[in-house]
Symmetry: C2
Subunit: 202 residues, 2 copies
């Protein structure tokens, strides 16, 4: 890798937590200059504008989050267990980049503003939903998940509940909201298991 | 009411959507001056700082949201139906002040920053959870809700799911995520109904 590319990557890695914590409006190129030790000219040689750097920082933060949430998730048991492992992973390791989930932070930051960030975060949610739907549909296909299950509803509920709970847990400084979300989602996912596969209850 | 108090109230009402949309760092006293038509001196006669105005604006936005979400919610049927009506109201009328839920916006805005706003938003979530717990506990007491139900888990899940879904719906510009959350929560609330009261299924 060329030196210029390395510098560019280092800037993005150091800018990502700044934008993730402080939001677009609350972050300045001055903050990034201080974090990286670069002069204004050095920074603008790599990024034409704060908008461009914010977009790159979001892409980086999202890629880190996706990696952290999907790498080596346990798929060795059934599809329901796989979905429960995805929930567990989110609850146990919610943030890859300091400042909480970049998707939620940027969604709130950009819902009334910055169209480039808004488009990127929309894509991020769509892809997350699509990844979950693939797993759920696989379970319907294999007969592990009840035929009448609507993948989008399950996927949207998982995402909404985890993101809302992460917001509450970060605010309240306790894991309670995330653990409560996990309890509920585990039970919801148990509920979509095809009943022929359900453990017999006496 | 004295003229000074009226002016103060008008400033807060006009500043609330600005802070709710743009966040604390993204809002300036200049923005509020432009919205109210007041000069700098006029604004600072009522509020010593942006912090003070932001705190008052949050209190106002939250009070409006609570009013919109609780006023005349249908309590004429059972406790489960009352909880489902609370969900329905949130899904149908999510924002009292333009810019989305002031609790979520301020939570994301303040989780790494402003301690005054952070304390106010923590209190807002605590009170919301407490209001829901009162309803759930009433249902447990009356035998309408299953004895083993844990009110805090149900309340946290309702709040997390609704807030997360509102964030997604606002971002995506469709009601789908909120409607999916309603479908799931309706079913979850049906599930905590005391089984002696459940409709017989054939």
């Amino acid at each position: 890798m060329r030196k210029g590319e390395l510098t560019r990557e280092r800037i993005v890695a150091e800018a990502a937590p700044i934008f993730n914590r402080q939001g677009f409006a609350g972050s300045s190129m001055q903050d990034v200059m201080e974090a990286t030790g670069l002069e204004k000219g050095g920074l603008y040689r790599h990024f034409r504008s704060k908008e461009e750097l914010a977009a790159e920082s979001f892409r980086y933060a999202l890629a880190q989050a996706v990696k952290l949430r999907t790498d080596k998730v346990d798929r060795s048991h059934g599809v329901v267990e796989h979905l429960q492992s995805i929930v567990k992973r989110f609850v146990e390791t919610p943030s890859a980049v300091p400042g909480g989930c970049p998707l939620m932070n940027t969604a709130i930051d950009a819902d009334d503003g910055n169209p480039v960030l808004r488009a990127l975060v929309k894509k991020g949610f769509s892809e997350w939903r699509a990844r979950l739907c693939v797993v759920i549909e696989k379970g319907i296909g294999s007969g592990e998940i009840a035929q009448e299950t609507q993948p989008r509803i399950v996927a949207n509920t998982m995402i909404a509940t985890l993101e809302g709970a992460l917001m509450m847990s970060r605010l309240e400084g306790t894991k309670t909201a995330l653990q409560d979300a996990q309890t509920t989602l585990d039970s919801l996912l148990e509920g979509i298991r095809n009943s022929v596969n359900k453990a017999t209850e006496c």
